[in-house]
């Protein structure tokens, strides 16, 4: 078995709008090792979500190829879907459904029998501290609880790769820390590869083994957090923010605010 679980070559995506083509992703080459936590970092509009939607089979690429969990993205999207978990930024919970119903349905959508899906739901609820919430409608959960349910949905099929799109956006600091712990635990206990997008520097710093910085649809830097800091900010003790600003050249007020 190869040690890389995601291999991406020349991935592009162009949207055609009335005003002309928009090149959201301009050629991404990327390899992710088994069991790695990869932070896909970039400012809003950098192409993070578009890339993620392509890698999770939701959006056909305009060009390029990828192999995920040993399956070809273009030729065997169903095979990819069987082997990955995906948690969108919007989460994907139906507010009227109970936690149990969501978990069992997800198991059924992964073609488990009713019994297996119910068993898997209990197992995940136990592991993720959701057992006491199983019969609550998801609308009645706190932000942090909801995120945990969403992650549980992404884990129903014991995926080889878990894709998380901006997993802590909108969470309070305590819930963010809990979620980081959860992601680390998933990797530690199951060897799951985690591919997460974020625009939070501290999140990438705290969680990712390796950071890939994207800007305007291209990879502009990659490496471990300390490497990026010393390479771009000139000092491993610098903040990742300094490195990020040096890489993307933004964040400073280029023009005076016209108020």
């Amino acid at each position: 078995m190869s040690s890389s679980v995601i291999r991406v070559r020349g991935l592009t995506r162009t949207f055609s709008l009335g005003s002309g083509p928009v090149h959201a992703v301009r050629g991404i080459d990327l390899t992710v090792g088994r069991g790695e936590i990869l932070g896909f970092l970039g400012p809003n509009g950098a192409g993070k979500t578009t890339t993620l939607r392509m890698l999770t089979t939701l959006l056909p690429p305009s060009g390029g190829e990828a192999e995920i969990a040993g399956r070809d993205l273009l030729r065997d999207p169903a095979g990819v879907r069987r082997r990955i978990g995906y948690v969108a930024q919007s989460g994907g919970l139906d507010p009227g459904c109970s936690v149990r119903e969501e978990l069992v349905t997800q198991g059924r959508l992964h073609l488990m029998t009713k019994g297996a899906a119910a068993g898997r739901a209990e197992e995940l609820a136990g592991g993720l501290g959701l057992s006491g919430l199983m019969d609550r409608p998801t609308a009645a959960l706190s932000g942090g609880q909801r995120r945990r349910v969403e992650i549980a949905l992404g884990l129903v099929n014991r995926p080889e790769v878990l894709f998380l799109d901006e997993p802590t956006t909108g969470l309070d600091p305590g819930s963010r820390a809990e979620l980081w712990d959860l992601v680390r635990r998933v990797r530690a206990e199951h060897g799951t590869t985690v591919f997460l997008t974020t625009h939070y520097l501290d999140e990438a710093d705290a969680l990712a083994d390796r950071i890939v910085v994207v800007d305007a649809g291209r990879i502009v830097a990659e490496g471990a957090s300390a490497e990026l800091k010393s390479r771009y900010a000139g000092d491993p003790a610098a903040s990742l923010q300094d490195a990020f600003l040096a890489i993307t050249g933004r964040g400073t007020a280029e023009q005076p605010l016209a108020i």
């Binding site: 959006l59 969108a88 919007s90 919970l93």
Partner: protein, 250 residues
């Protein structure tokens, strides 16, 4: 597993959702019943230019209207699921993409047929008399038409961005089609140009056929043409809906 099994999984999920939202269910059922109760009595003394009682003309019309309006609006629910990310979550599973459409459509058919049964029962209370076989055949027409419009509605919902965009398109298309089909009053009353225009609207043939079977006439040209047009429409809408549903937007 087969497409049928996948569709069953999605259908089960959707049906439970529908049954859970009691408020929606209650008011959704109430509207066509009110329509029949508050509009139907106006027609009993009028000469509609057709055979049978006014209820044998109106009830089939309201049934087809229910399938037409109820079916074409289901896309709004899908838009909500899209915005919540529920649909994307389900699309990243091995369940067949077509089943995600068919399971929902099947739920809509079941719901609309259940509503239709209530509508017929209310009609009976008001004085509708129709043979059982005719009513059952009428419900079959409603089911096929509901499937067609539901699939098309989901296809549309996958290709617009906002609920208001969706509603504008569905309204603009639905309203003239409804009026042109002679659902509320038969086209026998229409001037030549209007009756002619209604010949271009497929629902016209469906409602004419349902009116015939409510009168107990099963083996005539109107019923045969109605069945053929309704089935052809369903085939087209299901294919078109599946295509539009499968098309992915950013």
């Amino acid at each position: 597993m087969t497409l049928l099994a996948h569709t069953g999984i999605v259908f089960g999920r959707c049906l439970r959702s529908t049954l859970r939202s009691k408020t929606n269910l209650f008011f959704g059922m109430l509207q066509p019943l009110l329509f029949l109760a508050l509009f139907g009595p106006l027609l009993t003394e009028l000469d509609l230019g057709v055979s049978g009682s006014s209820w044998q003309t109106l009830v089939p019309g309201v049934l087809v209207q229910l399938a037409l309006l109820g079916g074409s609006y289901v896309g709004l629910g899908l838009l909500m699921d899209r915005n919540l990310g529920v649909l994307d979550r389900m699309r990243v599973t091995p369940v067949s993409p077509l089943a995600l459409l068919l399971g929902r459509t099947l739920r809509d058919v079941v719901q609309l047929v259940a509503q239709s049964v209530l509508l017929v029962l209310l009609g009976l209370a008001f004085g509708l008399r129709a043979p059982l076989l005719g009513v059952l055949l009428g419900l079959l027409f409603v089911a096929v038409l509901a499937a067609a419009l539901s699939a098309l509605s989901y296809g549309l919902a996958m290709n617009v961005r906002t609920p208001s965009e969706f509603a504008a398109i569905a309204n603009t298309a639905g309203m003239p089609l409804m009026l042109l089909s002679g659902l509320l009053l038969p086209m026998a009353l229409a001037p030549g140009w209007l009756a002619g225009a209604s010949r271009a609207v497929p629902f016209r043939y469906t409602v004419d056929a349902v009116r015939q079977v409510f009168l107990g006439h099963y083996a005539n040209t109107t019923v045969a043409v109605g069945a053929a047009v309704t089935l052809a429409l369903a085939a087209l809408c299901l294919m078109g809906g599946a295509r539009l549903f499968g098309r992915v937007r950013g």
